[in-house]
């Protein structure tokens, strides 16, 4: 069974075996507004926990996307680069950002579960 966890930077992460799929939360897309640009990390590159691993831009501003865990980028979602509006439409499912082969499963431990994240998002509505 896969579990979904959430970061304070409003990313979600779903772990299946040692591959994690990462995207941004619905709450994040609501704060950003219409997303019109997405940039993803390169396949084969390594990313470090809490480091930047992409960019999303709305009509208003650019925001970094962080990775909640370390690993090697094994896949990226070209569909959201070609049509960034898909991120607003289905952020926590088909509009995933990238997949990582993760190094250290224990990095997942510090992340929030759904209930905690929902509470966090409500309290940090900025």
């Amino acid at each position: 069974m896969s579990e979904v966890k959430y970061s304070k930077e409003h990313e979600w992460i779903k772990l299946e075996g040692d591959v994690a799929t990462i995207g941004i939360t619905k709450h994040a897309t609501e704060m950003l507004g219409d997303i019109v640009f997405a940039e993803l990390p390169e396949k084969g590159s390594s990313v470090e926990k809490d480091g930047t691993a992409g960019v999303v831009e709305s009509t208003k501003a650019a925001s970094d996307v962080y990775t909640p865990v370390s690993g090697e980028v094994v896949d990226t979602n070209q569909e959201i680069v070609d049509d960034p509006s898909k991120i607003n439409q289905d952020p926590e499912n088909s509009a995933w950002f990238f997949k990582l082969k993760i190094k250290d499963k224990s990095e997942m431990d510090s992340l929030m579960n759904k209930d905690d994240y929902d509470k966090f998002a409500k309290e940090n509505n900025t």
């Binding site: 507004g33 219409d34 640009f37 960019v55 009509t59 208003k60 501003a61 650019a62 960034p84 509006s85």
Partner: protein, 367 residues
């Protein structure tokens, strides 16, 4: 002094506006449908913008006032017909732009629409330049509502009979609810539209009626993407005191007759620049991919020499791609010149292009 609210504040709240503070006012940046939807609805139907934060300056006077204003603005005001409007700017003695504005000849003088962030300073400057000879009112009792887009004429005419017969850049007094409203056919979106100057107490009622007839509120976010696609300047970004109208590529707005006389503030510099050329000039810039180059992005030539900066950049919903404008050294200002934009440490190809990016019924500048 606290942040001010316009008379449409309650309506904005009712329509789930997200507010930002802009020039000392709580202004709606967007409503629930979002900037892209509001932008497209304005282009295709009709959008309403609360621009009540802008200054409405009434200056009362006749022939002497015209003469005095011609010493300030590079306009042929003595030949400006009653109820006709012109785009212009307030310059300092070096021709630096202190504000851009719309001036309209009305019965008792002139109505000047000023940018919100500049209006108090403009008032001070103008009062001094006019030596307090004329009655000047920066009217806080009136709201300014813009309705823009192809369906706006029909919608507004249902609420204020007769407006559909106005010509572009002209205005008149009309009646709404037995109150005098001054309406001009103008705007800042590249669409047909109107700006309505109305007493604060009636602004909410008028706007709700326009919504009932099929128009929708659109926020400052959509106003920004619309004006940028239309190639129009935003003061404080594309225009400021360090830029002249010639550098800003706005020489079309300077009266030729007035240049030949050269007797307005800043005219020495304007004439010199028109004769000798300028070192930097405002251009349209179209990135080749999807990358968005925002304000302050550095522009490089093909030899990697820094040649300018972006002053406005965003994603254009109607163009369906990124759009920008900025200033480059004059020799790189020709259409189709390849340039590079530095975004987050990387350089991306872009082309100098003509403005506007978007013009009614066809789209310019799309790859």
């Amino acid at each position: 002094m606290g942040t001010k609210k316009t008379s449409l504040y309650q309506l904005h709240q009712d329509c789930n506006a997200k507010f930002v503070e802009f020039a000392g006012y709580h202004m709606p940046i967007q409503y629930s449908e979002g900037i892209v939807e509001e932008h497209k609805f304005t282009r295709n139907h009709s959008g309403i913008f609360d621009v009540s934060h802008m200054g409405q300056l009434f200056i009362y006077g006749s022939d002497e006032l015209i003469k005095d204003l011609e010493k300030i603005f590079p306009l042929d005001l003595k030949n400006l017909k009653l109820n006709h409007s012109k785009y212009s700017f307030l310059m300092d003695k070096d021709a630096g732009i202190q504000d851009d504005l719309i001036i309209t000849k009305i019965d008792e003088g002139f109505l000047i629409i000023l940018n919100a962030a500049c209006k108090d300073n403009d008032f001070k400057i103008l009062k001094e330049l006019l030596k307090e000879k004329y009655k000047m009112v920066l009217d806080e009792n009136r709201s300014l509502i813009a309705i823009q887009g192809p369906k706006s004429s029909q919608i507004l005419n249902e609420v204020v009979d007769g407006v559909k017969d106005l010509n572009f850049m002209s205005g008149n007094w009309f009646l709404f609810d037995n109150q005098k409203v001054y309406i001009t056919r103008s705007g800042y979106t590249g669409e047909d539209g109107f700006e309505i100057s109305i007493l604060n107490n009636y602004a909410d009622k008028l706007t709700r009626e326009l919504i009932n007839k099929g128009s929708k509120l659109a926020g400052l976010g959509a106003r920004d993407t619309l004006r940028l696609e239309a190639g129009l300047c935003l003061y404080g970004h594309d225009l400021d005191k360090d830029k002249t109208p010639v550098e800003a590529n706005l020489k079309w707005a300077i009266s030729k007759e007035r240049i030949s006389k050269g007797d307005f503030i800043g005219s020495d510099i304007i004439i010199k620049q028109l004769n000798d050329g300028v070192s930097k000039i405002r251009v349209g810039i179209k990135p080749e991919g999807r990358i968005i180059a925002r304000e302050k992005t550095k522009i490089f030539n093909q030899s990697d020499v820094h040649i300018g900066e972006i002053t406005s950049g965003t994603f254009g919903p109607s163009v369906n791609g990124p759009v920008a404008m900025g200033y480059v050294e004059n020799e790189f200002s020709k259409k189709n010149t390849k340039v590079f934009l530095e975004v987050r440490g990387k350089k991306y190809a872009a082309n100098i292009c003509s403005l506007p990016f978007y013009k009614k019924s066809y789209v310019k500048g799309v790859n």
